[in-house]
């Protein structure tokens, strides 16, 4: 028995047959069956998903510390690695925490993907292949081939009016934005921005090529992920009002500093705290995080701020 046959036997075949039975229960509607099974699979994998979301959240939380370490030991890679591991240990998290649950879930998603695709054969060749995946349940044999209509869609062909590609791209963008890790590193910022757009656009493009049934599965998955993410971290990076306010405050603060530096000393009243700050000489490289994005938005749980680059309170 080849690896493909084993894969079919343990993963694709059960899902295929469950999808057919679900279609029977859900008013002979394959679209509803796709949505239902996607929800069921998500519920079954909820503990793993939570583990992954929490690990991602923890990773976000230590980003400022990681940035500091990078600044400090960036050139000494060995030391940097040691310090990083130390930080992970202290924070009680594993760098693999985000990836392992995802890797475990991946075969299940791939099996679901293949099952949906197999159940929507366009060509007779596909239908013959499907016949080899069916269990000897009466309901299965009387249901196949499944009806392809759902709302305005023919589930076997791509959505020609582009609603699904937009939904796939849109929901994926929202999901990405919610999980985006704020970072002070301009390189990483650019990379994150690129990924924020690249993945949704890529999936939207793929949706133009694949049967709508698969796109329906992607949209449903994204919506469920968004809901889970919301309950764990709130809107995360999606609603960045707090971040905007912080940036505005930083800009005002910089203006005030410039004002102090340019104006004669008696024109501007400077508080003791402001006087005590070391801004360096004009033109020097800033030692703080350069007014980068805050480490967390207001939507996440507030924690006391610490660290050297923090602006002292005004009195």
């Amino acid at each position: 028995m080849g690896i493909g046959e084993i894969w079919n036997l343990i993963a694709v075949q059960p899902m295929t047959n469950v999808l057919i039975v679900l279609s029977d229960y859900l008013f002979n509607n394959f679209g509803l069956a796709i949505i239902a099974l996607t929800i069921v699979v998500n519920v079954a994998m909820y503990p793993l998903t939570m583990k992954q979301v929490r690990a991602t959240k923890a990773m976000q939380a230590i980003q400022p510390k990681l940035a500091e370490l990078k600044k400090k030991y960036g050139k000494d890679k060995e030391r940097m690695g040691r310090e990083q591991m130390k930080l992970y240990k202290e924070s009680g998290m594993s760098p693999a925490g985000c990836v392992v649950p995802m890797l475990v879930q991946m075969p299940i998603w791939i099996a679901l993907f293949y099952s949906i695709r197999g159940l929507l054969p366009l060509a007779p060749e596909g239908l013959l292949k499907l016949s080899q995946l069916l269990y000897s349940w009466d309901v299965v044999y009387s249901m196949v081939p499944l009806g392809e209509g759902f709302l305005w869609l023919n589930l076997a062909v791509p959505d020609s009016i582009l609603v699904l590609p937009i939904l796939v791209g849109g929901t994926m963008w929202v999901q990405q934005k919610m999980t985006m890790t704020p970072t002070a590193d301009p390189k990483q910022q650019a990379q994150s921005r690129m990924m924020l757009w690249l993945m949704p656009l890529l999936f939207a493009f793929i949706t133009l090529q694949f049967p709508s049934g698969l796109a329906l599965f992607w949209v449903t998955s994204s919506v469920i992920r968004i809901a889970i993410q919301y309950f764990v971290t709130g809107w995360g990076g999606l609603i960045s009002t707090a971040a905007k306010k912080q940036v505005t405050r930083d800009r005002r603060y910089k203006e005030r500093i410039a004002q102090v530096e340019e104006a004669p000393s008696d024109d501007v009243e400077v508080t003791k705290e402001e006087e005590g700050l070391d801004y360096g000489k004009p033109g020097d490289k800033r030692q703080d995080r350069g007014g980068g994005y805050p480490t967390r938005s207001r939507a996440t749980k507030p924690q006391p701020r610490r660290g050297r680059g923090h602006r002292p309170k005004r009195r």
Binding site: A96, L122, S131, V157, Q209
Partner: protein, 378 residues
């Protein structure tokens, strides 16, 4: 670092999925059967051409005629299913007088001159119907065919003009119609078998005969009975005149009945996708012997040569089944995927394999390959 790695992996998987996913998506490639008329064999190749072969010299009569290339359909950029532009041909071409009729998966019926290959007419003249999977049949100056849009069409064989308003069923039609006298029998994915007046297109039975599964099998009419199998794994015999059930096979097969059955001496031989041939009494439906196992799905329709039933399994093994003792005998292992219906002429059995796209002519008694011809590079 891990995130970067993961994202890169995901992008590679997605791009890979986009390309290989499309490649792995089952493309309609076709498995045309063939027909021999006046020493010329006509069949469709997997690169969308009508091939005409002189059976005496085993050579092509003329360069293959390309059926027009299909335009991408379904989806903004055409979708995976339309990656290939060659017209897939699944049905067996039909020949009448000087015309050959071929149904294409691109939703068109072509009528070409059998001698020159020149296109006489095409239906529809503009645009396309849904995919045509079953073959056309010609009778009384009309061409009949079923379409994936669920409709049965009747056209004037000479001109391609519509003869009667198409008859609509509840789902796709992938089977080839069977004509007996002035009645046309056809199965649909809506689980029903229909009997239509071939002249008017009106239903003949009070109501169509309904099974519990889709019908893709081409019906066989014999002794005023219509024989066909269904996706519900049962085989049926229905009164050809009134549409009432004569019998339903007692045994439930392991999979779908896809191939057209054959009948010999009041015995039905029906191949099933479970790899078995069911041998049933044509009058009672009772099994004459235990199902005969051919170890691989049977999607090619068998043929009868004398008292031998010739069966081909999907993996390309050709067998003879002796109707006197129901013993099978392996005639030839072509080792190539075969789903096209077998056909026979003057004691020679023709097998069209799909991988590679080749036509084999076999001697039924010895299994010797008399000749073979590569139809396309697919």
């Amino acid at each position: 670092m891990i995130k970067k790695l993961f994202i890169s992996l995901l992008v590679v998987l997605l791009l890979g999925g986009l390309t290989t996913g499309c490649a792995m998506q089952d493309q309609p490639e076709g498995w045309s059967g063939g027909v021999v008329v006046n020493g010329t064999l006509f069949l469709g190749s997997m690169d969308g051409k009508l091939v005409a072969i002189d059976v005496s010299s085993h050579n092509r009569l003329r360069p293959d005629v390309t059926l027009e290339t299909s335009k991408p359909s379904g989806g903004f950029l055409g979708g995976c299913a339309s990656g290939s532009t060659a017209v897939a041909v699944y049905g067996t071409p039909a020949v009448s007088e000087d015309l050959v009729y071929v149904g294409g998966y691109n939703g068109k019926i072509y009528a070409l001159s059998s001698s020159s290959g020149a296109l006489r007419w095409v239906y529809p003249r503009e645009g396309n119907l849904d995919p045509i999977v079953g073959g056309p049949v010609v009778a009384s100056g009309k061409v009949y065919f079923g379409c994936s849009d669920g409709k049965v069409y009747a056209l004037d064989a000479e001109t391609g003009d519509k003869e009667w308003e198409e008859f609509e069923t509840g789902d796709k039609i992938w089977s080839t119609p069977a004509i007996d006298g002035d009645t046309l029998y056809i199965g649909s994915f809506d689980n029903k078998l229909y009997a239509l007046d071939a002249i008017t297109g009106k239903e003949k039975w009070e109501k169509p005969y309904e099974t519990q599964g889709a019908i893709a099998c081409t019906p066989l009419v014999y002794n005023n009975t219509v024989y066909f199998g269904s996706f519900d794994r049962y085989f049926y015999a229905v009164d050809a005149t009134g549409g009432s059930l004569r019998w339903r096979s007692e045994v439930e097969a392991g999979s779908w009945f896809w191939a057209k059955p054959v009948v010999y001496n009041n015995t039905i031989y029906a191949g099933n996708l479970d790899g078995k041939v069911y041998v049933l009494n044509a009058k009672t439906g009772l099994e004459k012997v235990d199902p005969i196992d051919f170890e691989s799905p049977i999607s090619s329709s068998p043929v009868l040569v004398g008292s031998l039933v010739i069966v081909t399994s999907e993996e390309g093994k050709v067998y003879t089944l002796d109707t006197s003792n129901n013993q099978k005998n392996e005639l030839k292992n072509l080792g190539a995927k075969t789903s096209a219906p077998l056909f026979v002429s003057e004691g020679v059995v023709y097998v069209h394999t799909q991988e590679p796209d080749t036509l084999y002519a076999l001697n039924v008694e010895t299994g010797v390959t008399l000749w073979s011809l590569l139809l396309s590079s697919k």
